[in-house]
Symmetry: C2
Subunit: 332 residues, 2 copies
């Protein structure tokens, strides 16, 4: 910057003013400065700027599982929205690991991120209290977090009920549920939706019909296999996430159970295209891209101290079996 100021024959303060637009500058000196910047290919050092301003124009995005397309779609929403507003995004994959998540929260704080968007590893154990008390805005997505500055969520109970009712509407009378880890609150909510819908319909929903798994393929596989081993087999299964659905489909396939003739299945969230290879698999889909967009919008509004609603709830959508599947609208 010193070079630029010399080249333009002004002080470094003026260069700074031109570059940041923080104050009025004589048009002539302004052009001189810009010419010098251009000539020397000068670019401000973001680290120094961050140190001085105590704010970095960087948003940290901490996600639960980078190999799950739901979260990557959220990422893209955050990204696109944040970049439009002049923010950079740094992405961290906590990998469902509370320790890894904690490590990232520390790093991100120490790196002076301007704000944080997080899909928490745990509603209880994820601790953002010191961040929030330091005034750092934190937006929760996917899972509610009591201390969060804001949130963008889907009502997982409703979504779970929506999925379950679809199976009921299709005539299932003995519906099982493969849900996520017991301590995971979204899994609990989706399960609760299942319990509500089955109860309303007077259908059985006892412990034998419920399986807790790890939200991963192998978990869905094992859980489904065990359901198929029941004496009183279910005639419908609600699998509460996309990766487990893949495992579940495989278990059904290996067992020679045909969908929908021998078994009705509904999943939760897409795998881009892959689940559509199974035309008889319905699913409930969260607007992942939109969740990301809204989270970024919310965070930036907080950073700008704008008045805005703090908590957004979006609707999940039923993609019913054999229905025409709309293209995922990213730009919506």
């Amino acid at each position: 910057m010193l070079d630029v100021s010399r080249e333009a024959g002004v002080s470094s303060a003026t260069v700074s003013r031109v570059l940041t637009g923080s104050a009025e500058v004589e048009p002539a000196t302004r052009t001189a400065v810009l010419a010098a910047v251009e000539k020397l290919g000068y670019r401000p050092n973001l680290v120094a700027r961050g140190l001085r301003r105590q704010a970095s124009q960087v948003i940290a995005l901490i996600i639960t599982d980078i190999e799950n397309p739901f979260y990557t779609a959220v990422c893209r929403g955050v990204e696109d929205s944040a970049r439009l507003a002049g923010y950079s995004v740094i992405l961290c994959n906590a990998d469902r690991d509370i320790e890894k998540e904690r490590a990232y929260l520390r790093v991100v704080e120490d790196q002076n991120a301007s704000g944080i968007i997080i899909s928490p590893a745990s509603a209880q154990r994820t601790d953002i209290s010191n961040l929030v008390s330091r005034g750092l805005p934190v937006i929760a997505v996917d899972m509610a977090l009591a201390a969060a500055t804001g949130s963008v969520l889907v009502d997982n109970k409703d979504a779970g009920a929506l999925a379950t009712r679809h199976l009921i509407d299709r005539g299932c009378t003995r519906i099982a549920c493969v849900t996520g880890p017991a301590e995971n609150s979204t899994a609990a909510d989706r399960l609760e939706g299942y319990l509500r819908a089955t109860a309303e319909a007077g259908l059985p929903n006892g412990r034998d019909l419920i399986r807790y798994a790890n939200y991963m393929e192998d978990g869905g596989y094992e859980a489904t296999k065990r359901l198929l081993a029941l004496k009183k087999k279910p005639d419908g299964i609600f699998i509460t996430n996309n990766r487990m659905a893949v495992g579940g489909l495989r278990a059904l396939q290996e067992a020679g159970v045909a969908i929908p003739n021998d078994m009705d299945v509904i999943g939760f969230d897409e795998l881009p295209w892959a689940l559509r290879l199974h035309p008889h698999l319905s699913l409930v889909r969260q607007p992942a891209y939109r969740i990301g967009q809204e989270a970024a919008r919310l965070l930036i509004a907080c950073l700008r101290k704008e008045e805005t609603e703090r908590h957004i709830v979006l609707d999940a959508e039923l993609i019913a079996q054999d229905d025409p599947v709309p293209r995922p609208s990213r730009k919506a």
Copy 2:
């Protein structure tokens, strides 16, 4: 830090020495400092440190397509390896967009990343020359980059030939190839492998059997559909990436073409589990996680000025149809 130094009754310089281990410190003062650090919950400001040291302990990872599980697996490899060595990773998704990639390269440079790992959007147009000339190490993965400091690659020509020969071995005599964008060098290499293998076997490989698509589901879908519309239909198809394979499978399914009876298909890279739902789909798999690990190892070796081989070539592996599929070994 000033607080800590007061608390411990020493100067800030000593605190720094204790924390960084940059010089010997009297054990007694050392414990006093650490006690003060503990008591006050002090944590160094990484931005200030980065400014002073002109090095950030942050590695930037720029990937091509965050929705492609191949790249996310690379991420995890980089991550795990980098964190072990005390580096943080910031992840950027260039989205096959050369402009977005350029923007990220700038941001990352301005943020003073210590080094860069990149899967380039283009072998020709991705420009890292100024980074490299500034002394920033850049490791290319997935696609070679002439200016790169180092690289971790798979021989895509060999891999393409490997895939094609598998179809040949299975008795195909008219093999088509759905490859990526014409200007994409990995796509060109995989295609070249196909051309070589078919030529060696005396099989046709004319323009009608070759489709260029966008490495995405819709591209694979359209390309496959057009292959199926040929007067002289192929009896085998090599689809050069995982996302296109999903689209291709869908096109075949819609057309009622059964694998492997009506058509043999081989893909390239996995979708975690999803492609295994199609037990008759073989594929050639790159060691994605390992590529990421090696890239991080290489980069860190460069940062530490260690002598090391600069360019690593790993082997792709054939996962033959109906063969038992080994679990993806992440920790390998």
